[in-house]
């Protein structure tokens, strides 16, 4: 009983402190993204030129999980904020806020927006929650659940194809398409954001492994005229 | 190369008779279990007018596809009893069958990679010792002494935290085991009939009186099913259900190597088991393919994963090559224990459900199933393994000791 009370007290205290902007800014400065330690490796491992491929982490993107029947009334309400909800595998919608909404399943979507530097719930989450109201569904801030890797350049697809069995050919995956799949057995959401750019969203605990794995796959493109380093 | 230069064809070890009109007992399936059953029917129960019907060729099923691991370190009393009896039979069979089928008691280790594994393994060692099964717990250093090529460093995903060890366990040469039984069966008058598929049963009411085959109808007093992965198909023909599921189980061998691996190593946690056969090939297996399948083949990712696990445990294997992979059809039950007993059809008996681990059970299956067929009721060793356990709830859950196959 004492423990519960104490926890409750600490929670309240934490909440109160969240309101303190000076401290929040400090907290933001202390954030470390899941692949922070690989920053140098990514820079060194990236390859320029005709066979080039670049890897970087895009830290702290805002992500929101939505579960709702897209054809229901509440689905429509939420869709008004997100440029509609995607109805099929691969589909991505974009609302006025600029956030991308990825189809994960017939009733599950992932909203991805750049880091807004907001320490608490962002305006985006708040507005989505308001749209949900007491309708059947769920809106949850999942920002630290996954990180973002951006793999781009002429050889980006070749690197992925070594260990992703889904068809990544442009006839199947055009720019603006997103799928949930596996890269070397790591469950990953893959968003082809531009012709030669893939955003990969692995869960944070896989970031180190996937980062190193991709680097390994990039090595061969650094060597001129040969497929071995 | 002309025929003159080929080595002389070895002598046939058994006759290839045509089926007779009737037998006292017919065994369906010419794998290890069918052969051992016929052997003990003839030897222990004096039944000589019997036939083994095999739809393909002798030992063409799982018998000559398995990775030949023999051990008896199962958890529960019922299993320890039947598997340990089997191991004791293995120890005398080379002499009894007058055939050196390379039974090698080089010991089997079951590795532990997590604290949960360690606790479960120590519990099993304790249970084994109470049941008179030779079992020991080894720390990583002792593991390394017995198998120097094993990586016991902390730098792998699932470091070796110890192992259970059964010194009397080991391997044998599976095809020779089949030939050894076949020769003795034949000597005692058993008809081994290959290319003879059972396609139906002849019944008088609820009593079986004969079998329909691709080589004609055969009358018989009794029928014993030893069809492993195909048991459900036969049970359906006979009009009863049996709680097994057939899955592909794969294995592979490398090219031949100098002796590097002195024992047998199994890991349920990282899913691989490995030994080195007498000729020198590394023999490896893992778990079943997840789906039901009668195709005698599985998917390549299963092979890939077991090789990845093997290379992590045995870095030296990175230099080896896969020579061949193959699959069998294994008959799994919900409690990972076999079914040996009577059926709802009178005079029909069933031995199946040995799943991924029935090679080691071959002698005991033969002994107890022969007893069941000859006397109409189970031997004390197979009594707990009747189909009725799924109704009474007396399951014998051996997933811990049998989960990764073998």
């Amino acid at each position: 009983m004492w423990l519960l009370e104490k926890q409750y007290f600490l929670m309240q205290k934490g909440r109160a402190e969240m309101g303190n902007t000076a401290q929040n800014t400090e907290v933001l400065a202390l954030r470390r993204s899941p692949a922070h330690h690989l920053w140098t490796d990514f820079t060194v491992g990236s390859v320029a030129g005709e066979r080039g491929v670049t890897l970087r982490e895009v830290p702290f993107q805002r992500m929101v999980g939505i579960r709702v029947d897209p054809t229901s009334e509440v689905g429509t309400r939420i869709g008004e904020l997100t440029g509609g909800l995607p109805l099929n595998s691969g589909d991505v919608t974009t609302g006025e806020s600029g956030a991308a909404v990825l189809w994960l399943a017939p009733d599950e979507f992932l909203v991805v927006a750049p880091d807004d530097g907001e320490p608490g719930p962002s305006a985006l989450v708040t507005s989505l929650l308001e749209a949900l109201g007491d309708g059947a569904g769920q809106v949850i801030d999942l920002s630290s659940n996954r990180t973002t890797f951006e793999l781009s350049g002429p050889s980006a697809r070749a690197v992925l194809e070594k260990s992703c069995a889904a068809d990544l050919h442009p006839r199947t995956i055009a720019a603006g398409t997103a799928i949930t799949t596996e890269i070397n057995k790591i469950p990953t959401v893959l968003f082809k954001s531009a012709d030669e750019t893939f955003q990969l969203f692995p869960r944070s605990s896989f970031a180190d492994y996937l980062g190193r794995w991709l680097l390994d796959g990039m090595v061969e493109f650094a060597a001129e005229g040969t497929s071995w380093p | 190369m002309s025929a003159d230069h080929l080595p002389e064809h070895p002598e046939f070890l058994w006759r290839n008779p045509d089926p007779k009109k009737s037998y006292d007992a017919v065994i369906v399936g010419g794998g290890g279990h069918g052969l051992a059953t016929a052997y003990f029917l003839a030897k222990n129960h004096g039944m000589r007018n019997i036939a083994i019907l095999e739809k393909g060729w002798l030992a063409g099923g799982n018998m000559a596809r398995n990775t030949t691991i023999i051990r008896s370190n199962y958890l529960w009393d019922e299993s320890a009893a039947i598997y340990e009896h089997s191991l004791k039979l293995w120890e005398i069979l080379p002499e009894e069958l007058d055939y050196d089928f390379l039974f090698s008691q080089r010991g089997v280790m079951n590795l532990a990679h997590t604290l949960g594994d360690v606790r479960e393994s120590m519990r099993r060692v304790g249970a084994n010792q109470l049941n008179g099964v030779d079992a020991e717990w080894l720390d990583p250093k002792q593991v390394k002494e017995l198998c120097p090529i094993l990586n016991i460093n902390d730098n792998i995903r699932y470091p070796v935290m110890g192992a259970t060890y059964q010194p009397r366990a080991g391997i044998a040469k599976h095809d020779h085991v089949a030939w050894a039984f076949a020769r003795k069966c034949d000597e005692m008058g058993v008809d081994i009939i290959q290319n003879c598929e059972v396609t139906g049963f002849i019944k008088d009411g609820n009593k079986v009186t004969g079998v329909k085959t691709t080589r004609g109808n055969i009358n018989t007093e009794k029928v014993g099913l030893c069809a492993a992965g195909h048991t459900s198909v036969l049970a359906e023909m006979a009009g009863f259900r049996i709680p097994i599921q057939s899955h592909p189980l794969q294995a592979l061998v490398s090219e031949l190597h100098e002796p590097v691996h002195p024992t047998v190593v199994m890991s349920n946690h990282v899913h691989v088991y490995v030994s080195q056969a007498h000729k020198g090939e590394l023999v490896m297996g893992a778990g079943v393919d997840s789906y039901n399948g009668y195709g005698q083949r599985g998917s390549f990712h299963v092979i890939e994963e077991q090789m990845a696990a093997a290379v992590e445990l045995f870095p030296i294997f990175a230099r080896a090559h896969v020579l061949r992979t193959w699959g069998g059809i294994v008959d799994t039950t919900m409690d990972a224990s076999p079914i040996v007993g009577t059926t709802p059809v009178e005079n029909m008996f069933v031995n199946c459900g040995w799943g991924t681990g029935g090679f080691k059970g071959t002698p005991a299956a033969g002994l107890t199933f022969a007893h069941t067929i000859a006397t109409g009721s189970p031997h004390t060793l197979n009594k707990p393994f009747g189909m009725d356990r799924f109704e009474t709830g007396h399951l014998i859950d051996e997933h811990g000791a049998a989960a990764v196959a073998h």
Binding site: A105, D167, K185 | Q245, Y291, G293, Y294, G295, S299
Partner: protein, 121 residues
């Protein structure tokens, strides 16, 4: 490696899926009234068909939804993929060729299981 077509996501590698065994096994309507034998059948007995087999799969690394599939257990060829709650194509055909053709429509999920408690186990 097998290639399965998820009804939601399209063709993907077998490794993205998990197996769920025989499809259309209904939960007993009155569990309290089952005999031991019936319980055993519900819990432990499943068809083990050699040939066309209706089974469940889940696209665990994709949309995470369950679906049904008819697969040949000898050739491993996939013959049909259909959603949970829909009738097995074979059942549909059987209904279609029966006297009341208007029934040959997939039923709503709640009514869709074609097996009764006693035959479906």
């Amino acid at each position: 490696m097998l290639l399965f077509t998820c009804p939601n996501c399209g063709p993907r590698n077998e490794t993205e899926f998990h197996y769920g065994g025989q499809a259309h096994v209904a939960y007993p309507e009155s569990p309290g009234e089952l005999s031991d034998r019936e319980w055993a059948e519900y819990l432990f007995y499943r068809e083990n068909t050699k040939g066309l087999f209706a089974e469940r799969w889940v696209h665990s690394a994709g949309c995470r939804k369950w679906f049904n599939m008819v697969r040949d257990t000898v050739s491993y060829e996939v013959k049909a993929v259909y959603r949970i709650g829909e009738l097995q194509p074979e059942t549909l055909e059987r209904i279609a060729s029966a006297t009341e053709p208007e029934q040959a429509q997939p039923l709503a999920p709640a009514q869709a299981n074609p097996t009764t408690a006693s035959e479906g186990v």
